[in-house]
Structures are given as structure tokens and as C-alpha cells.
Amino acid sequence: MRVLVTGATSLLGRAVATQLRHRGDIVTVFQRRPSGLGVVEHLGDVADRAAVAAAMAGAEAVVHVAARAAVTGSWAKFEETNVRGTQNAIDVAREAGVGRFVHVSSPSVAHGGRSLVGAPAGSADPDRARGHYARSKAQAELVALAANSSALAVVVIRPHLIWGPGDTQLVARIVSRARAGRLVIVGSGASLIDTTYIENAADALVAALDRAPLLGGRALVVTNGQPRPVRELLNRIVIAAGLEPPRLKVPYKVARTGGLAVEWIWEHRGREDDPPMTSFLAEQLGTAHWFDQRETRRALHWEPAVSLAEGFRRLHAWFEAEASGRSIPGPEQSEHSRS
């Protein structure tokens, strides 16, 4: 299959492009900066329709990973990349006669700040989604699903909290906070959180691509199906990086209120750096977020191949290799995937 992967500099885009290529698909990638993947590459912004059209020429299928996943920034920026970018990709796909379109979304498009305990995927709802990122992704998902037709099978995959070696988002943020002594446990640290090891998420996207004609119009949450207390997750990532686990505990309400204040300051001052706490982050850390995976696994004929325990082993090995070689990259504000 001739597949275009957008956002191939992100952890997920890179992983899915690599897997497709290894199994013999003809892969083209499209993003703003060179990926170094050694495949046919088009550089450009998803908000630029002409650039998208040039990249998609001849593709039979699209895996749309590209998104703005930053913690901060104005609504306009999120809207431009996530909503308009998706609209462009969908429009061009229709015109170019693409048959399959796998859109990467996020479980946060369907949920507010409540605890999610074995939750179903639910419908994307921009009015309920919290924060610029989730709201823009909710709109983008609706745009993508609305285009599903007998000619173009659109499948939405919502991976929750992707991580793995080379992750410049979740893992890098946690590690850099831990280094700076700014990593805290919110509440008791017992809230169960679902995460997704990078290879499993990429496998799920490939499965969705293969089964797209049967799944058109569906939105599926993808996780490892192994929720863990948030404190255990943070500790294991930090320990994998060779650091001491965090000791400081902050009550949930304090963290959330503090997060709201920080967001307000960052937004009003136009700061683009990583804030110490946001209300979204406090909610992510202080409430349960785990999902019912039965429907996803039935629909995709997919099971996570890498367990959490194996994932942490690989992460630790990667950190050790990094420590003996080059330094670890910090967080970046480019295109990437986030849950």
C-alpha cells in the first residue's frame, strides 16, 4: 500500500512510518522538518493546503499523526494546526481518491475533568473537552469522521499517554521535572492511569489501516490495558532514567487551583515555556483515567505486544545507552502526538 504518514518527526509518526516500511508498504512522510527516516519526504505545514496536496499525490492511504500538542499557546495556533490541518488533509484525501484515512486523536476529546474508570470511548465533544488541545482535537475528530464515506474509510484512533524510548513528551517532561526537583505526587498518587507503549500504539494504527474498510466512521481508544497508580508510573519512569523517585506530595485541590492560576499567567504573558503545573495536568495526575479496551481489541484484531514491564526495561536500557553516549533531548514544541 502507498501510505502517507503526517507528523513523522513525532514519536508515534516515526514509529508507525518505520513499521509500515518494514512490512513492505511504500511510505511517504510529511512534516515541517526532516525526519531522517530515509523515505520519500515532503516538508511543509499541514495548515498549507497546497503542501498537503503535493505530499498526498498518489497515496492510497493516510495516517494523520501531525498535531500541535503543546501545553501552552493561543487557541488560534491549536485551531490552525489541529482543526484546519485536519480539514486540509481530509479535503485533499477526498480529492486525491485516497481510500483509507486513519486519524490520530486523543481520549480527552470526549471527557471532562471527571475520573474515568473503565470508560468507553464516547463521542468527541468540543464543548466538554478541556483546554485548547483537547477542544481543537475534538473539532478535528468531528471533521475527520464527517468525511467517512464508502469511498473514503475514516477511522479514528485515540491512544492514551504514549511513551517509550526517545519520547520527547511525557517521559522527557517527567524526567526534566524530576531533575529540577519539580516533580510532585498529586493527591495519594493512587489514581489508576492507562498508558500506551509506543510500539503498541503504532501497531494499533497499522491494524486500523488494514481494517479501515470494516471500521469506517469508528473512534477507538487505544491503551496498554494495564492501568497503574500514577505514582507507580512516575516512579518507574524516573527510576528508568536513573533518578530518585519524587517525595513531595501536593493535595489534589491545591494542585488544580495552582494549575489554573499558572495557566492564566502563562496565557496573559504569552509565555511559551513549560509551566510548572496546569489544571489539565493536575486532573491527569489526580483523577483516574482508564478505559474499557474490549471493543477496541475486537474491532482492531490487535493486542498490545509489549507489556508495561517490558516497556520499562526497554526505557531503562535506552536511558543507559543515552547516558553512555549523547545527552537526552529536552521537550520541544513542534509537531508531535500527545494524548
Partner: protein, 856 residues
């Protein structure tokens, strides 16, 4: 007849919660003198129905009460639920319609509806007698009677409910029923739990203004409290004619927390409809169709009416429960010894016990106790308890054994549900009975002064009965098919359930025990576990209960046990697991003499709950010639399987606790679990199949007392008992118990059972106790392990990464989402050893959803 407001019948407005517009229709009946009446009726209009449910509401509800009955109806069942005239959305006639008129109205309506074929009437409140009046006029059509919280008669010697008498006061009647919606709102407020607002609004919808509420007052006024009331004769006729419906199956569904229709009326109806099935929804009240799932109950009952179960084969002949006593009527060997803190306190020979039982049996009959009457026994194990029980059995009374292990509240619920006619108790129990208003005519075990007797409302003492019995001929003995006893489950989940046994089932129980443990003359019984104390006289063995706090088996010390063994030269020792642990811990306190006495014990049995093999072994060491055993069973089938300590070691570890091979005469089969953790599979004896443990034996319970729904569900297929335990059989035919059905963790990859996991984790040196529970929605639950570390914990919390990894390593393939630590785990009251996993699961669910740690 006074002229009241009139208005035509209408269809209900759209949007009433749970009500489908297509069920509603208006039906016109011709009526007298050409005055037609129009009715609102809910009708699912099934064509070619095999059966019709005719549902009649009371005051002040309307057909809305029966919406679930329509929603859940199978495709072959027609459900017709009427709004009485002047009620709901039926016509406001401007007339006063009395009881008899309402029956005639209903007959006219069913003629118009052309209600042919078999009918089951369903009535609630005042709809009860009206539906019965209809039934008596349509006997040939009657396939069944269902009644809920209603009455046809004021039981003799009881006042009418105070609430009704108060509302009947003229000015309150007008104010509460018509001028204001107080009576409707008051009725809605009786719902437990509270009704959701949309449902309350739907009930009130047809009664929004005073001119639509007139009939609410007339209904209340039509209750014939006095002899000269115009409706009195008609109601008495309905009550009197009930015997004509005696052959019609009946189901009484009852919410006992009803300020008007109390258990008194349930008993009255049950006596008028002999053979009726009863389900008493503990905790539910007057609005039982709202409080409990009566719709499923009715449909399950109706379904089995259409497919009757073949009657069970008659039981084989065994000797009566008192036969061994009879044979020893001239035997002067000691039968029962009572121990106190300073040694033997009292004893009785077989000859004395047999004579006492005969005297008491005659004395009970003289007092008025009739065959089939229930007699509650609130007496600790000992001579009085044994004499009372065997006396009851000899004369056909049914003993109700609510043991103190249920706690005061549990005992109260148990007694309210069993509703004994008599209550024999020690003074302390009689005082509790008075304070907590337990039912039954009081009989005291000990003589009381006149003032105290009056205070405790005591009708007689056991000594009175003995005297009266001397002068009276022996009452006839019951047959083996008569009811003998009501025991109670421990009520770990909800209120204790009454379990009914007939004589032949207890006889089979006795014979199974004798066979299993090869009990023979020369044996003597030391019963440190309540139920087994009763088997001594039944088997003709001397017996003794050691000095211990009955409600706290853990209070039994090794020396108290040894003293009891000495007293009867005991060869058989039965003890509860909690007692076993304490015996092992206090072994050092025994004197050399006592240690020698223990050498005479040939059998040690730990019964009542699972016991750790280590504890069994430790106590076994005190009795070098005894083989430690532990039977597996439950209140419903006391003896299912048995295993010795040696056999436990041979079986080794596995998924669950090995309880041994089924004992002689007991069939064990497994009903396999589906992916949701429900036991839906057909019964199988194949090894390795995990599912609900199902049992069939001559000594199993007859049924549950006034719990038809529970009994029906636990008796599938017919003749079997579904135990509620989950387990499997192995290649050697041994049964392994993996937990309770409601404690199965339903993960997305299939059901996971707790016991095997708990045993594996508890085997870790750093872990004292373990609970394996599920959190999250059924079918996609996560497995969570809660441990009590040997090192102790002051507060609950998350386990550290090291302990978490260690625990996960023990659990095997199932994914453990979290490991929590706690200072202790909650256990049941009666046995002090069954972990309350449901409670732990609720706590873990809160904590892992981001809630506060708090306490379990």
C-alpha cells in the same frame, strides 16, 4: 352517592419516565342504565397470548405502578394494567364507588377487553382485595394470584394501622387526600430508596388538582374498620371465599418496612392462601414495585407456572431425630455436660434428657404450640437448648435458630423474617426481644419473679412447661416430611437468609456425619462449634460444650478445651477456625493432666469456615492420635466435602483451596463461568472447568424461607443447590474452592478468582493477610491486591515498588493494576475469618479513582 367533579378519561401526557405511549388506550364500558364509563388502561395488546396478567393498583397510585411488568414481559404474555375509575387517567365519574362496585366495574371492563384464556391477577394495596374479588368471580380462568403489601382482613387481636385511623379523621381526610397532595406525596416518600424526581412527578401527574383527587379520600374512607361499615360485608365475603381459590398458585411479594401493611398481614394472607410462595424483600416498603425488582420476580414465577417441576422422589426411610434418645430412655450414662469457668457446672443423663424432652413436648402442646408453629430458640448451647429443640421436634414445632453470631441487628432481621409464634430465651435474650420488639410468645429458660416476668412479657418458663407436660398425654409426632428447622446464612452480603429444613433432611444430615467420620458407640463429642453441639443427642453420644463466649469462638483456650475433653473423655473435637487459632496460641497453658486427656481424641474437625493448614496442624499436634479434618459446607448443605490435613499436603498448592472429595451421597457439579463471570454453563463433572459449585444431596436444605426469588435462582436446575461458591474439580475428583461468585474479578481477558491468588501472596514471608479484588465496571475490571504486611501498617496506602513487584511475581499471568497495603482486613462477624472482599473492593475502587485513602 354524592355528586363530585366529573371529567372524561384521557391518555397520559407524553414523556412520563419509563412509560411508552403505545401501551395506553381508552376503553368504554356500557355501565348501568346506559351510563357508560371510560377507562385508561395500559395494555401491551399481545395477540395469541398464552397468559394475561391483570394488574390492579391501589390508592393513591395508578397503572404507572406496573410499567416495568409491561416492559419486561415475554412476547407470549399479555399485560393489562388498569386505572380504576376516578383514579389515574380514567374517567372522573362524580360518584362514590365502594369496594363491591369497584369489583363489578373491573368485571365489566374485562368483559369489554374480552379477557379470555388463563389470567394471573396482580394486586397492590387496595388493588389486592379488588383483584381477589375479580378472581373469585372468574375462578375457571385463574392461573395464579400475585399480591403485594395488601390485606383482606384485620388479623384477630390487632388494631388497625394507626396511620390509617389518623387519616380517617374527617378533617384530615379532606385536607390530606383532596385539598392537598399530601397523601400522594406521603405515599411516594415511603419508597426505599427515595424515588427519582421524574418518577415522583409521573405518579402525581394524574392528581394535580383537588377535583382529580376526590377518589383518594373515598378510597381511604372505604376501608371497613368497623363492623357496620357499608363495605364490610363485601370485604368479608372476599376473605371468606378465598378458600375457593386454594388450588390456584399464589405469590406474595412483600416490602416489610410498611407502616400500614406489616408482616402481620403477610402472615394472615399466607394462612388464607396455603401453599403460596412468598418473597419478603428485606429493606423494601409499601411501594415494593418501586423498591424491588418485582417485575422480574413475577415473570420468573409465571414462567415456572407454565413449566411445572416434577415432584421430587420421596425420601428414603430413616429413623426420627429423637430415636437415639428413645433407645436410651433407661440409660444412666451422662448425655450432656455444661462447663463453666470452674469446671463442670451441670450434667444430665440420657434417661433424664429423654424424660425432659417428653415432658417439654407435652408442655409446649399444652401451652398451645401446634404442629408447624415456629419456635425461636435464643439459648446458648447446653442442656436447656438440647431439651427444647428435641421437644419441639418431637411435637412437630419448627425450631428457628438465629445464633448470636449474627449480631443484634442481624438477629432482629432474621426473627422478623421468620416471624416465630413462640420465643424461648434466656433472660438476657428476652430483654433484647422486648426492647427490639422481636416477635413470639415469650418462654423463659429460668424462673423469674412476677415483676420481671411481667416486664419481659413472659407467658411461661421451661419449668412451667415441664409441670404442665407431666399431666398431659404425649402429642403426636411429626412425619419426616414436616418442616423441622429454620437456620440462617451468615449474611455477609445483605441480611441473613432463612434456610428451611425438613425432618428427613436433618436425618440424612445426621447419617452423613456418622458415615463420614465413622462415628460409633463409645465416641463422645466436644462441640466448640455451635451447630455440632446438637448432634450429640441425635447420635446418642455424650456431648459437652467447652467454657467459651458463644459469640466469640476466638475466646476458647487450649486448657478450657482440654477440661471439656476430660469431662466426657472426648474422642471427637469440633471447633471453628477462630477457636483453632487461639487453641494453638494458648497450648502452653495446658496442665500435664490435660495434655494426657487430649491423647484420647481420635478426630479433630475444624468447621464453619476455611482454616489455614498450619493452624490445623498446630492444634493437631496437641492431639497426637487425632487426624485433623476440615469439612466444606454451608448453611444450606452442611456437609459437602471433607479433607484431612494429610490430604491437604498431598494435594499441594493450586488455584484455590482444596476441600477434598465430595462425601458419600453428595453430588458436586460445576456450572461454567462465561466471559462476564456468570455461571451460565450446564452442569458438568469434568475436571478443570471453573464455575459455580452446584450440589445435590439428601441432606440439603428444603429452600429459603420467604425468599422465593432467591430460592428459585439457587435451585437451577431443579433439585440442585447453587452454592454461590466458585471452584473446580481436579483429575482426582477433588473440589477446589476459588472464592464467592460475587467476588469474581471480571477482567477484559476473562474472570479471575481470588482465593488461589490470595493463598499465593499470603505465602510470601512479608505478607500476613491478602485480599484479591476487582475495581471498575463488570467485564473490564482491574485486579487489585490488598495486603496486610507482617511488619504492620498504621494507615492504608500504596505499596512501594519493591513489594508491588514481589506481589505481582506471586500472582502469575493475571495483570495486577495496583497493590495496596492496609493495617487489617475486615472479616465477617459469625466466623471471624471470612474476608469481606466486597467492602474492600468498594474502598479500593474509591482510592484508585483518586479518592481519599481513609479507612477500609
Amino acid at each position: 352517592m354524592t355528586a363530585g367533579p366529573t371529567s372524561p378519561a384521557t391518555l397520559p401526557p407524553a414523556g412520563l419516565a419509563g412509560l411508552e405511549p403505545q401501551w395506553s388506550r381508552l376503553v368504554k364500558t356500557p355501565g348501568l342504565n346506559g351510563v357508560g364509563r371510560t377507562w385508561h388502561v395500559l395494555d401491551n395488546q399481545v395477540v395469541d397470548a398464552t397468559l394475561t396478567l391483570l394488574c390492579v393498583h391501589g390508592n393513591p397510585t395508578w397503572s404507572y405502578l406496573w410499567r416495568d411488568l409491561i416492559a419486561l414481559a415475554p412476547s407470549s404474555v399479555r399485560v393489562v394494567a388498569i386505572d380504576q375509575l376516578d383514579m389515574g387517567y380514567s374517567e372522573r365519574t362524580g360518584t362514590t364507588r365502594r369496594f363491591e362496585q369497584r369489583i363489578e366495574d373491573l368485571c365489566a371492563l374485562t368483559d369489554e377487553l374480552d379477557l379470555a384464556g388463563p389470567v394471573v391477577t396482580v394486586g397492590h394495596d387496595w388493588g389486592g382485595p379488588i383483584s381477589l374479588g375479580w378472581a373469585e368471580r372468574h375462578r375457571s380462568q385463574m392461573a395464579g394470584i400475585v399480591l403485594m403489601n395488601t390485606a383482606v382482613h384485620q388479623p384477630a387481636g390487632s388494631p388497625a394501622p394507626g396511620l390509617i385511623r389518623m387519616i380517617r379523621t374527617r378533617w384530615i381526610l379532606e385536607k390530606a387526600c383532596v385539598a392537598t397532595p399530601t397523601f400522594i406525596r406521603g405515599t411516594m416518600a415511603l419508597a426505599r430508596p427515595r424515588l427519582d424526581r421524574p418518577i415522583r412527578k409521573a405518579y402525581e401527574a394524574p392528581y394535580r388538582s383537588a377535583d382529580r383527587r376526590t377518589a383518594i379520600a373515598t378510597f381511604v374512607e372505604d376501608i371497613p374498620l368497623r363492623e357496620d361499615h357499608p363495605s364490610r360485608r363485601a370485604l368479608d365475603e372476599v376473605a371468606a371465599d378465598l378458600d375457593q381459590l386454594a388450588k390456584v398458585p399464589a405469590l406474595l411479594l412483600w416490602g416489610p418496612s410498611d407502616p400500614v401493611f406489616s408482616d402481620l398481614y403477610l402472615s394472615d394472607l399466607a394462612s388464607r392462601l396455603p401453599g403460596s410462595e412468598i418473597h419478603r424483600f428485606s429493606g423494601s416498603g409499601h411501594l415494593v414495585p418501586e423498591d424491588a425488582d418485582v417485575a422480574s420476580a413475577v415473570h420468573a414465577w409465571v414462567a415456572q407456572l407454565e413449566h411445572p417441576v416434577a415432584p421430587a422422589a420421596p425420601p428414603s426411610d430413616r429413623e426420627p431425630l429423637w430415636a437415639a434418645l428413645d433407645r436410651r430412655a433407661a440409660n444412666n450414662d451422662v448425655a450432656i455436660v455444661e462447663m463453666g469457668s470452674s469446671g463442670v457446672e451441670a450434667s444430665v443423663t440420657f434417661a433424664e434428657l429423654d424424660a425432659d424432652v417428653r415432658r417439654l413436648a407435652a408442655g409446649l402442646a399444652d401451652l398451645g404450640v401446634a404442629k408447624g408453629d415456629r419456635v425461636a430458640l435464643l439459648v446458648p448451647p447446653g442442656i436447656d437448648l438440647a431439651a427444647s429443640i428435641y421437644a419441639c421436634w418431637r411435637m412437630g414445632a419448627v425450631v428457628v435458630v438465629a445464633d448470636a453470631g449474627l449480631g443484634a441487628r442481624g438477629m432482629g432481621q432474621a426473627l422478623a423474617s421468620a416471624n416465630p409464634a413462640y420465643l424461648i430465651g434466656i433472660p438476657r435474650a428476652l430483654a433484647a426481644a422486648r426492647t427490639l420488639r422481636w416477635p413470639g410468645v415469650r418462654i423463659s429458660t429460668t424462673p423469674l419473679g412476677p415483676a420481671r416476668a411481667r416486664l419481659l412479657d413472659v407467658r411461661a418458663t421451661l419449668d412451667d412447661l415441664r409441670r404442665r407436660g407431666e399431666r398431659r398425654p404425649a402429642p403426636p409426632t411429626p412425619t419426616s416430611l414436616d418442616e423441622a428447622a429454620i437456620g440462617f446464612t451468615s449474611g455477609a452480603t445483605g441480611p441473613a437468609k432463612g434456610v428451611a429444613y425438613r425432618h428427613h433432611q436433618l436425618q440424612a444430615q445426621r447419617d452423613a456425619l456418622v458415615d463420614l467420620y465413622d462415628i460409633r458407640p463409645g465416641d463422645s463429642l466436644v462441640a466448640a462449634f455451635g451447630p455440632f453441639a446438637l448432634f450429640g443427642p441425635m447420635m446418642g453420644l455424650p456431648s459437652v460444650v467447652p467454657d467459651m463466649e458463644v459469640t466469640s469462638p476466638g475466646s476458647l483456650t487450649a486448657s478450657a478445651l482440654a477440661e471439656a475433653v476430660q469431662a466426657v473423655r472426648g474422642t471427637l473435637v469440633f471447633a471453628a477456625p477462630a477457636a483453632m487459632s487461639n487453641i494453638a496460641m494458648t497450648a502452653g497453658e495446658m496442665s500435664p493432666d490435660q495434655a494426657v486427656a487430649m491423647q484420647g481424641v481420635r478426630l479433630l474437625v475444624s468447621a464453619g469456615a476455611p482454616v489455614p493448614a498450619a493452624v490445623l496442624g498446630a492444634v493437631g499436634e496437641l492431639m497426637p492420635d487425632a487426624e485433623p479434618h476440615t469439612p466444606y459446607g454451608m448453611t444450606e448443605v452442611l456437609l459437602v466435602a471433607d479433607i484431612s490435613l494429610n490430604e491437604i499436603e498431598v494435594a499441594g498448592p493450586g488455584n484455590g483451596a482444596c476441600v477434598g472429595n465430595p462425601v458419600q451421597g453428595v453430588e458436586v457439579a460445576i456450572s461454567a463461568l462465561d466471559s462476564e463471570g456468570k455461571a451460565t454453563g450446564p452442569l458438568t463433572g469434568d475436571s478443570g472447568v471453573v464455575g459455580e459449585v452446584c450440589i445435590r444431596a439428601a441432606h440439603m436444605r428444603e429452600g429459603y424461607d420467604k425468599l422465593w426469588v432467591t430460592q428459585h435462582a439457587a435451585s437451577q436446575p431443579a433439585g440442585w443447590h447453587r452454592s454461590g461458591d466458585v471452584g473446580h474439580l481436579d483429575d482426582a475428583g477433588r473440589l477446589w474452592i476459588e472464592g464467592r461468585m460475587q467476588h469474581i474479578v471480571t477482567t477484559s481477558t476473562g474472570p479471575v478468582t481470588p482465593v488461589g491468588i490470595e493463598l499465593a501472596v499470603s505465602a510470601l514471608p512479608e505478607v500476613a493477610h491478602t485480599a484479591a479484588v476487582g475495581v471498575g465496571p463488570a467485564g473490564t475490571q482491574q485486579l487489585v491486591i490488598v495486603v496486610v504486611p507482617v511488619a504492620g501498617r498504621r494507615f492504608p496506602g500504596l505499596a512501594d515498588e519493591h513489594l508491588t513487584d514481589t506481589v505481582r511475581g506471586q500472582v502469575g499471568p493475571a495483570d495486577v493494576a495496583a497493590v495496596l497495603t492496609a493495617p487489617s482486613l475486615p472479616v465477617d462477624k459469625r466466623h471471624n475469618s471470612k474476608i469481606d472482599r466486597s467492602r474492600i473492593a468498594r474502598w479500593a475502587g474509591r482510592v484508585l479513582a483518586g479518592g481519599r485513602m481513609g479507612r477500609i
